[in-house]
Amino acid sequence: MWKYEKTLQYPINIKKKNPKLAKIIVTQYGGSQGELAAALRYLNQRYTMPDEKGRALLTDIGTEELNHVEMVSSIIYQLTKDATPEEMKAAGWEGHYAEHKTSLYPTDANGVPFTITYISTTGDPVADIMEDMAAEQKARAVYENIIDLTDDPDVIGPLLWLRQREIVHFNMFKELYEDYKRKGYDQKK
C-alpha cells in the first residue's frame, strides 16, 4: 500500500511563469523516458522477480518514481500557473490549452499522449532489469537535453537533482543485473 506525505521529495519553488519551458519538461512526465513510465515499469515488473533483492529494489525505486512524477508535475504546474490563453499560444502550447486549459496531462514534448506501450514486462528478470538500466540512462540523457534548453536556475536545480537520481538508480539496477547474471536467472534454470 502507499501513504501520501505532504511534502515533495526535493523542494520546487519557481518564481517565473514560463509555459514554453513547461511544454518541453512535460515529456519527463508523460513521454517515453518519463517518470510515469518508469513508475509503471518497475511496479509491474516487481511481481515476477526471482528473489527478495529484485522485489525490494523495484518496489522502492518504483515508489520513488511516483515522487518524481509529483516533482515534474509541480514544475509544470508552477511554470503554467495563471498562464493566459495568449501566453499559452505564444509558447506554442495552444493545443494543450484547447484540450486541457492549464491542467496536468501526461504527454511528451510534442503533445503525444502517454501510452503504456512505453514499458515492457517480459517475465525474464535479466531482460527486465536490463530494460530498467537502459530506461535510467535514457531518462538521464533527456534530463540533460532539457537542461541544455533551460536558463531558469529555479528549474535547473530540480532537473540536476532528478538527473542524479537516474544515475543512482542505474547503478543499483546494474548491481542487481550482475547478481542475476551470476545466478543464471536468464538460463531458465
Binding site: P11, L160, W161
Partner: protein, 165 residues
C-alpha cells in the same frame, strides 16, 4: 489478550500525546535545535566510508561519492531556507532522503551492517525532524498529532506542489 492490547494502546497514546502550549517549542529555539542536529551529525565520525553527509547528499541528489558525476559545469543548487519553517522542512526532506538512498543500496547489499546502522541513525533524525515540523507547522503524515485537533488540519495548509515564490 485485551489487557495486552490496552497496554500497547496506552503506550502508543503516550508517545503521541499532543504537546500542550507550554511544551511547544518556539521557532527560534527550534532552529537552534535543528542546527544542532546538523552540527552533531557533521561532527560525528560514524559515517560509512564513501557516503556523503546528509546535506551534501540531499542537495546533489546522490549519497554515494563513487556514483556522483556532474553534468557539464553545472553545480547542484544550494538550498537556503528563508525562514524557520523552510529550515524545518529541509531537515525532514534531507534525513528522509539520506535514509531512502541507503535503503536502495541495502536492497541489493542486505548484509552491510555499517549501512544498516547508518540508515537507522538517519531514520532516528528523520523522526525527530518530522515531529518538530509537524508540531510547529502542520501535518506531513496522517499520523501527525496535529490531526487530533478540530478543525481537521489536513486540508488547511498549502499543498506541496504550490511552492513558495
Amino acid at each position: 489478550m485485551m489487557n495486552d492490547y490496552m497496554d500497547y494502546f496506552n503506550y502508543i497514546s503516550n508517545l503521541n500525546a499532543m504537546p500542550n502550549n507550554s511544551q511547544m517549542i518556539n521557532p527560534n529555539q527550534m532552529q537552534t535545535q535543528a542546527q544542532n542536529i546538523v552540527q552533531n551529525q557533521m561532527n560525528s565520525q560514524t559515517n560509512t566510508k564513501g557516503l556523503a553527509e546528509p546535506y551534501e547528499g540531499f542537495t546533489r541528489g546522490n549519497m554515494f561519492d563513487n556514483l556522483y558525476y556532474e553534468y557539464k559545469n553545472y553545480r547542484s543548487q544550494e538550498l537556503n531556507p528563508k525562514n524557520d519553517k523552510e529550515y524545518a522542512k529541509l531537515l525532514v526532506q534531507m534525513y528522509g532522503f539520506a535514509a531512502h538512498d541507503l535503503g536502495l543500496y541495502l536492497d541489493v547489499n542486505p548484509n552491510d551492517t555499517n549501512a544498516i546502522r547508518q540508515r537507522a541513525e538517519y531514520i532516528r533524525m528523520y523522526n525527530e525532524a518530522l515531529a518538530q515540523y509537524e508540531n510547529n507547522y502542520g501535518p506531513i503524515t496522517q499520523n501527525s498529532t496535529m490531526l487530533e485537533a478540530t478543525p481537521w488540519a489536513w486540508d488547511t495548509k498549502k499543498w506541496p506542489w504550490e511552492g513558495t515564490k
